[in-house]
């Protein structure tokens, strides 16, 4: 199967995709975008969160064939080392990064949350990020990072 879609605003053409492949597999193993992480393959951990036509999804649960003709934004598309996205900057500044395996998914999920709701309450943050597991931080400094990113944007 062939796929034609847009990743981080660039056209992307992929050949020989097997029907069983997920969007996450295509991004990591065929497009070379390793920022999206695989930690559960069941949509439980959120480490693979990307934006699909602007909506946050677990890319491990999206069949590759579903993205044909659509727009995908990964953590790499939000910002890079020389031009950090405000959410990425906030995660660094708030100490929200330990092992960092959950961080890309949380950054994308947070960017999505703040786009929908620029001033979320703590309860709204907790609910919005409930699908993103972190094993290191106990979430407190992640909560700080989201508050910080929201405050900076205001």
């Amino acid at each position: 199967m062939q796929l034609q879609f847009t990743v981080n605003e660039r056209p992307c053409h992929v050949d020989d995709v097997w029907e069983g492949e997920s969007l996450l597999f295509v991004l990591r193993e065929r497009v070379g975008l390793w920022g999206s992480k695989n930690a559960c393959e069941q949509g439980e951990c959120g480490s693979c969160t990307v934006l699909l036509d602007g909506a946050a999804v677990c890319s491990c649960l999206v069949a590759a064939g579903q993205v044909d003709g659509r727009h995908v934004v990964t953590v790499e598309g939000l910002g890079d080392r020389s031009d950090l996205h405000p959410v990425q900057q906030a995660f660094v500044d708030a100490g929200a990064v330990q092992c960092g395996f959950c961080t890309p998914g949380l950054v994308v999920a947070t960017a999505d949350l703040l786009r929908r709701n620029p001033s979320p309450s703590d309860a709204e943050i907790r609910e919005a990020l409930a699908g993103n597991l972190c094993r290191c931080t106990g979430y407190a400094q992640i909560l700080d990072a989201v508050r910080l990113a929201a405050a900076v944007a205001r």
């Binding site: 695989n38 309450s121 703590d122 597991l133």
Partner: protein, 809 residues
């Protein structure tokens, strides 16, 4: 933050005039890479010509391997090779403490998921399908899955020689001492998984010299290297390991998982081979926290002074040894808790069973004991009519106390202070306006004495819980407050820091100081594994402070420098931090010698010894000044130093007496919970915790460790368990094995004490594990207070809350 650094602790002069030194919230060097997705984890490795490995695992917990037929798999297009134990050229077994675990099953499998064969193929899917085509014929053997039954006479033997892994006895004082008030109980701790997010993964690349380069996520490169080399039949220098990005560890990466398999496949195929475990495979691919059964009897006088503690514990080590002997040792030596107890009798036995092998997880034997001894302290407090904190502080260990092992605690032991601090910590904010907060806010009172003297429930909440805005059941909206009762619980615990019982525990660090065009730069190189905790940050902070240099690069950890020991036992900041400091001091001595030549001073001139490194200059008291970059321009200074902490000693085999530990780390928790007593659901409303860290090398990272460790303790209290049935794992997925999510973790009030340990570098104490200990019993105590249930087992399940304990008391 409370600072009480003892004068004279810092026996030398630190550099000044630099940012990001010790004691600051210096940023992680890898933070930006991780936030942008550009950090390379072990699962992100890629190289030209790489192929993929997969593992064939036993579906049975105990069976003879009658035959292995690899022909169908080998015949599959895209499959490069299939290896069994016949293909292991060197030692066919491995293990941390004793090599008892087959690299690939030889003639028997002893737990479900034991590797039988490995396959290499063009891509991961072909490798998986190839593995599925390996035909293994099994003959089932008798199972032993109950650790107590495993130790009974006549039990089927998991290994020849019996199922007893180790029996540690601690004997102090009068074994028949009698007390006026006696309480006893049977407790049980379920099998917890480390559940790091980055599953086991790595890549092996065959080298031209016949050796192999392995890029791997691990906790101890050199112990992996030695096991890999032994099984490959290669000298260690031909097996070179480099740390790939580690997605969390928590003990699960202490043991070898796919390291040897990867190297076998790479050397057989002559191709780079990559493996990444799925989450399901990861549950079978690493050791877990030991499930334990613990029987305790505590005796006290009427004033609440402990007279004796008797404990009998059985730890389920599963099918192979791993680190069970050390885990059992910890449970025994720390088993009476951080209290002064004149008469102690503790027996801890580890058992082989056909359950998954158990080994290291954050807290390492101290977690299981802490749940039981703290549950006992609450039971004793209730029997005495005392407040649970009052009973604990009355018996609290202090500096100068001697442990049941006879070892004297020779640095701060602020057990009572930690408890008192969490007792008076601010209470959670009361429900938002408009809610029927009524009794909630006042119930607990300002001091956390909600529970009254006996730890009783604080009464119906009747309103939305504190800052999370959630009730038990969360967004499932299962209650509007009816049936919800609030409870408060306390606990304290202590954990040894570093390797114990006579282990030669050291680390190695290399520090290089260079200058170019007037710029001063340093690099630091060790084999110490950064697993997320922030060691790389601390290494750079130490170099900045010691040498007064702003620019510090932390080299990737590998085996091209001496061993750093394991990233476990809360030890790396202590031991590798000590090595980095010592290497910096060696560099400084060379700088002083060079400066002496420049300034025309004798090398032992006291003016030099008191010189300070400030902003890249060496300032002598007499006014002499040397620019350090000039001293090293064209002639860098490099020093490699091996550093060890104070020696420890083995325990006496009959009495358990001995100076077994290096240092202790203390933490206390207060938990406030809301319990829906009709549905058995718990919401943790707030955690208050206090910990002595000796010296907060990076306060933000210290608090991050406390948050994270506490959260894993909450998980053990309320949700986390690998559920076993007849030796089989029933829930190997994140759908079925639950870890705390953001709504599950409440706001935490954290107090950090800095009572310097004069024996440790900078006075610091290992931080990572202590917060995992007491959070579990504090949460369970709070649930008991709310429900009146005995709750002798963790994790607490809804049916235990609604119907009472299923385990007899």
């Amino acid at each position: 933050m409370t600072t009480a650094l003892q004068p004279g602790d810092v026996r030398h002069r630190l550099g000044r005039g630099v940012d990001g030194g010790i004691g600051t919230d210096a940023s992680r060097p890898d933070g930006t890479l991780k936030a942008t997705g550009q950090f390379g984890f072990s699962s992100d490795l890629w190289t030209e010509g790489m192929i993929w490995g997969a593992t064939v695992r036993s579906p049975h917990p105990h069976a003879a391997v009658v035959s292995v037929d690899v022909s169908a798999a080998l015949g599959m297009p895209g499959v490069h090779c299939v290896l069994t134990h016949d293909d292991v050229p060197g030692r066919k077994t491995y293990g941390l403490e004793s090599p008892d675990q087959p690299v690939l099953a030889i003639d028997e499998v002893r737990y479900q998921g034991e590797p039988v064969a490995v396959v290499a193929a063009d891509d991961p899917e072909t490798a998986r399908r190839g593995a599925a085509l390996v035909r293994v014929e099994y003959r089932l053997l008798p199972l032993v899955v109950d650790p107590v039954a495993a130790l009974a006479p006549g039990a089927p033997e998991v290994h020849p020689g019996g199922n007893l892994v180790r029996h540690v006895k601690i004997r102090r004082g009068d074994p028949s001492a009698r007390a006026e008030v006696v309480v006893s109980g049977d407790y049980e701790v379920g099998m917890q998984d480390q559940a790091f997010l980055g599953t086991e993964s790595g890549m092996a690349v065959p080298a031209e010299d016949g050796g192999v380069d392995l890029y791997i996520a691990t906790q101890w490169l050199h112990v992996d290297r030695d096991q890999v080399a032994a099984s490959l039949g290669l000298p260690p220098e031909k097996v070179r390991l480099t740390l790939a990005g580690v997605g969390g560890a928590f003990g699960a990466r202490e043991d070898v998982s796919l390291q040897i398999h990867l190297c076998l496949l790479a050397l057989r195929t002559g191709r780079p081979v990559k493996m990444v475990y799925s989450r399901q495979e990861s549950f079978f691919g690493h050791v877990h926290r030991h499930p334990a059964r613990l029987h305790y009897t505590h005796g006290a006088d009427r004033e609440g002074r402990l007279v004796f503690v008797h404990a009998d514990m059985v730890f389920d080590g599963g099918a192979y040894l791993s680190s069970s002997t050390a885990v059992v040792g910890n449970a025994a030596t720390l088993g009476a808790g951080p209290y002064d107890v004149p008469n102690v009798s503790i027996d801890v036995r580890g058992a082989y069973t056909n359950n998954p092998p158990c080994g290291a997880m954050r807290g390492f034997g101290a977690v299981q004991a802490c749940f039981a001894y703290e549950s006992q302290m609450d039971k004793l407090a209730a029997a005495l009519g005392m407040h649970p904190v009052d009973l604990r502080t009355r018996n609290a260990m202090t500096e100068g106390s001697s442990l049941p092992t006879g070892q004297v605690v020779d640095s701060a032991a602020p057990v009572a202070e930690l408890l008192n601090r969490v007792r008076v910590a601010p209470m959670p904010p009361v429900a938002s306006a408009g809610d029927a907060a009524g009794p909630t806010g006042d119930a607990a009172g300002p001091t956390g004495d909600a529970a009254g003297p006996t730890g009783d429930a604080a009464g119906p909440t009747g309103a939305r819980s504190g800052a999370t805005g959630l009730l038990p059941g969360g967004v499932a909206n299962t209650t509007h407050g009816e049936g919800v009762v609030r409870g408060v619980g306390f606990a304290v615990g202590f954990k040894n820091v570093g390797y114990s019982e006579g282990f030669d525990d050291y680390s190695t660090a290399r520090v290089l100081l260079t200058g170019a065009g007037g710029r001063l730069m340093a690099s630091v190189h060790s084999a110490a594994c950064e697993v997320g905790q922030g060691l790389v940050t601390v290494e750079a902070q130490i170099v900045r402070s010691e040498l007064g240099v702003d620019e510090v690069v932390v080299e990737t950890a590998d085996t091209q420098v001496g061993s750093a020991g394991s990233t476990s036992a809360s030890r790396q900041t202590y031991v590798t931090g000590g090595a980095v400091r010592a290497a910096c001091q060696a560099v400084r001595e060379e700088l002083l010698a060079r400066a002496a030549a420049v300034l025309g001073l004798e090398p032992d001139d006291p003016d030099l010894a008191e010189a300070e490194l400030v902003g890249g200059k060496l300032l002598c008291r007499s006014g002499g000044t040397v620019v350090v970059a000039d001293l090293v321009e064209g002639s860098p200074v490099e020093r490699t130093v091996q550093w060890r902490h104070r020696p420890t000693e083995a325990l006496h085999p009959d009495t358990g007496q001995g100076r077994a530990h290096v240092q202790y780390s203390f933490a206390a928790h207060r938990a406030i919970v809301d319990v829906d007593v009709e549905l058995g659901l718990v919401h943790v409303v707030q955690i208050a915790t206090a910990q002595d860290v000796g010296r907060a090398m990076n306060p933000a990272a210290v608090v991050g460790q406390i948050h994270g460790g506490t959260t894993q303790g909450i998980g053990l209290a309320l949700m986390e368990e690998i559920q076993m049935a007849d030796g089989k794992v029933r829930n190997p997925s994140f759908t079925d094995y639950l870890i705390p999510t953001m709504p599950d973790v409440p706001p935490m009030h954290v107090e950090v004490l800095e009572l310097a340990d004069p024996h440790a570098p900078y006075g610091l104490r290992g931080v990572g594990e202590a917060p995992t200990l007491s959070s579990t019993p504090a949460v369970v105590a709070a649930v008991r207070a709310a429900t009146g249930r005995a709750l002798a087992r963790v994790p607490v399940r809804p049916e235990h809350i609604v119907f009472g304990d299923l385990t007899p008391q």
